[in-house]
Amino acid sequence: MVAPTKTKVEQNDGVAVMRFEGDITSASEDAVLGKYQKLPENTSKVVLDFSKVPYLNSSGIALVIQLMIAANKSSRTVACFGLSAHFVKVFKMLGLAKYTTISDNESAARAAGA
């Protein structure tokens, strides 16, 4: 049995911070895309907090890409922080850094591309 991913969303001044907790895998669609789809229309920036994500596989990364596609269509910027050094490398290998900033911490992620 795979524990479900939890997502807490915090919104302030057009910035939505999605704080993931748990593994992000193919079973995380509601936690990633479902929560994204419920963001208010005035959201201009989405910050993804991976600091409580111990395991992310390629199916989970595909959900993050789908979120980025949706954000791109709505002219929203996406910023990530809290990834381990390994997953920073993986995100860069897969080219995600072209469509999202990857920061070490939340304040840098909030400031990125602002």
Binding site: V2, T25, Y55, S59, A62, I65, M93, L96
Partner: protein, 148 residues
């Protein structure tokens, strides 16, 4: 203490999530061998992706079928074989194109085999009469990516 290769074998149900059992075991073996933490992280992702492929595409999530993971360590390298009951991989490894994904021209998925190839020193996909296996090799002294 035995001098030759030492083998550890796992039998996993074809259920997503159980790839983490193989991932943890591979990490433990790699730690015992003295791999650096960054190489262990590479190995964990490559082993997890291989097991997911075996569970999803090899055994089609049929929990009656097992995925067998064999880890063989010697003084120079760790070899991981991930066996399933499917016909095996008969395609080139697709290099994901983030621009095409972002524009809906290719699936957001389909990155596992690329990651496996990029993160270990050697990858081989072998088909047999009664199934197939992926063979991954990660070397203690990285001599640069040598490709599959």
């Amino acid at each position: 203490m035995k001098d030759g290769p030492i083998t550890t074998e796992l039998r996993l149900p074809s259920r997503l999530g159980f790839e983490k059992v193989a991932m943890s075991t591979a990490a433990t073996v790699a730690e015992l061998m003295g791999f650096s933490q960054d190489r262990i992280e590479d190995l964990k992702t490559a082993v997890a992706e291989s097991c997911i492929n075996a569970i999803e595409h090899g055994n089609h999530l049929d929990e009656e079928l097992s995925v067998v993971v064999t880890l063989t360590m010697d003084s120079k390298a760790l070899e991981v074989c991930v066996r399933d009951h499917g016909p095996g991989v008969h395609q080139e490894v697709h290099v994901p194109d983030i621009d095409r994904k972002m524009h809906g021209e290719e699936s957001a998925r389909g990155m596992g085999m690329f990651l496996i190839q990029a993160l270990v020193d050697e990858v081989e996909y072998v088909s047999e009469q009664a199934g197939s296996y992926a063979r991954l090799v990660i070397r203690l002294k990285a001599e640069g990516a040598q490709g599959a």
